[in-house]
Symmetry: C2
């Protein structure tokens, strides 16, 4: 098969189709990263770097402010939803298929403008990165920040994660913990010799079932929290009393709480049980009071919303760079097998971003 | 490696050592079945048949009664507990290692007597069979009963399953069912969009936790029941609200209950949930009122006990042949990594069986 290529002179809608039809499920971003790199290298106003399967393209116009605009190029696994199709949802034209929402429409808008805007009002660092949909350890943006922090520098950042074309500020933090019960194995024909660890998990599930998550206001945005079991496993064989049961819970917490505070909350809730935090990431405060953020909000002309999901805006936040989410597509459709993005949102996002970047 | 062979003139204790040192984990019974077949074929008083990895050896002395004596030759997986070792437990000599309890000591006693007793008081059908420790569908005794019912014929059966050298009559039935809860998937950052199926399993576990199993007397023996979760699973990914949770329960029920009654009991307990029976086997009534059973009880001279675990005695029971468990070893040690059998029990079992079979 010939290596795929991209035509950045196409419309952002057509470019979304091109991007979606190139398989880039996490761990297979290489061909798409190659196509992106080749396409942006054709534009002499961009200084292009490649780090793994992450492509960085920067303008060097001597502007006094720099904006970082980033998007991940990987998707969750395809499930019969490629190639992309044109469909109507509620009478509105949509592009349907894996990646349309999360987040190739956003990447298409970025690529289109990166190629087109040779002289934006601010210097721009465009970043298209790999491995966002899998473990933290391989996240391309994390690795870029660690190995080449100079490529991440900027005064404001925009992440193209789906946000229905609105600005979503900050993000909740996320913590995963294993709650473990222990018993004593025995043959199930003589269960009274053992102790059933799965039965003991009843209490853990009751805590979860009766938990009432809070809504917390941070810098004017209301962040809704959540605490859920995401995995449960236990059992040795069909005739053995199980000696262990593990419930993995995911706590999404408002950005006003630290990881330490979130950990204490979970440990308190499951007092008496063996609780182990397996991963955690702080949220990001909205940061909407930064001057560039205010200008961007004014340009887009809509009230910012909180972002519930953890996104890589938190990485910019951790580097002291105010960052928002801004991209086409309904985030509740991310990862859904029927994900589809309204064509009008692609066009509107593109126009807002073009207007703002060209406003001088 | 040379094909293993067996010396049936050795003591039953030494023969146990020989048997344990031949790996016969389920699906790998071939070499041991070959060795058993070759060893019993050397004795002209035995009419030997081979069906798969099951070996049948029959006397044809024209006695008016026939006893079937059977044992399985496979074991659960080895876990660093072979070769067999001589150890002391509470000051008593034991053979330690995989299969010593379940049930190569029992098979050793049977092989020893099969070779030795050329003229027993009753005709004897010795059966050594494969695949007892795995799925019902491959059980050698089940397949023998289906393909060659004539080889199973008899007036009384003794299964050499570990029973501490006592007679254990009948067995509990066993039923496995899956109790399923269903929810709606969503990203865990927006958990309120979904419905958590794992949380709903709290109620299933509460039913199990508060269940008080009954003890039921059947033909003078008290059978203790049990209902336990043996497996639980649920969850899609660390950031997804799970849409399904499955609790597999194992119900051990007294032989006075039919599979149908046991099923109804479980369905009633989990009313409102999706309950699917995945496998079930009726128990076996003790059958101790059969004349040969009475004679055997008198010869061994001990009070019969109920067998809690389901054993292949139920297959004889289903064919209308009264059957008991009688073998060396503590059944609670079956499958344990530290299984070990008291040498004295091997010797006592051998003597009881020899005395009874030679009593004429």
């Amino acid at each position: 098969m010939a290596a795929p290529s991209l035509d950045l002179s196409a419309t952002a809608v057509d470019l979304t189709r091109q991007l979606c039809d190139i398989d880039s499920v996490s761990d297979n971003e290489g061909p798409l990263a190659d196509a992106i790199e080749a396409a942006v290298r054709a534009h002499p106003h961009l200084d292009v770097s490649r780090v793994g399967d992450t492509v960085v393209a920067r303008t060097h116009l001597g502007r006094d402010r720099r904006v970082v605009i980033a998007g991940h190029i990987d998707t969750v696994p395809i499930n019969g939803n490629v190639p992309v199709r044109d469909v109507e949802v509620d009478g509105e034209p949509h592009l349907w298929g894996r990646g349309t929402v999360d987040m190739k429409a956003g990447v298409a808008v970025q690529l289109k403008l990166a190629a087109e805007l040779a002289e934006p009002d601010v210097d721009v660092t465009w970043i298209w990165y790999d491995h966002e949909e899998v473990g933290e350890d391989r996240n391309g943006l994390r690795l870029l920040a660690a190995a080449h922090p100079e490529l991440m520098e900027g005064d404001f950042a925009i992440l193209g994660e789906p946000s229905n074309g609105h600005i979503e500020g900050g993000c909740n933090g996320t913590l995963r913990a294993e709650i473990r019960t222990r018993g004593v194995r025995a043959h199930s024909a003589r269960s009274w010799v053992g102790h059933n660890a799965i039965h003991d998990a009843a209490e853990v599930l009751q805590v979860l079932q009766s938990y009432r998550p809070r809504s917390i206001e941070v810098e004017g945005l209301t962040f809704r929290e959540g605490l859920n079991a995401v995995m449960i496993s236990g059992g040795v064989a069909g005739n053995v009393i199980p000696d262990e049961c593990v419930v993995q819970v995911n706590y999404r917490f408002a950005p006003s709480r630290s990881v330490q505070e979130a950990t204490e909350h979970v440990v308190d809730l499951f007092e008496g049980f063996d609780v182990r935090v397996v991963d955690a990431a702080a949220g990001a405060r909205p940061g909407l009071d930064a001057p560039l953020a205010q200008e961007f909000i004014d340009a887009v002309g809509a009230t910012p919303q909180p972002k519930y999901g953890w996104t890589d805006v938190a990485r910019f936040s951790a580097l002291g760079i105010p960052a928002v989410n801004f991209g086409p597509g309904d985030p509740t459709k991310a990862h859904a097998d029927d994900e589809s993005v309204p064509v009008a949102q692609i066009v509107a996002t593109e126009e807002s971003l073009r207007t703002w970047l060209s406003r001088a």
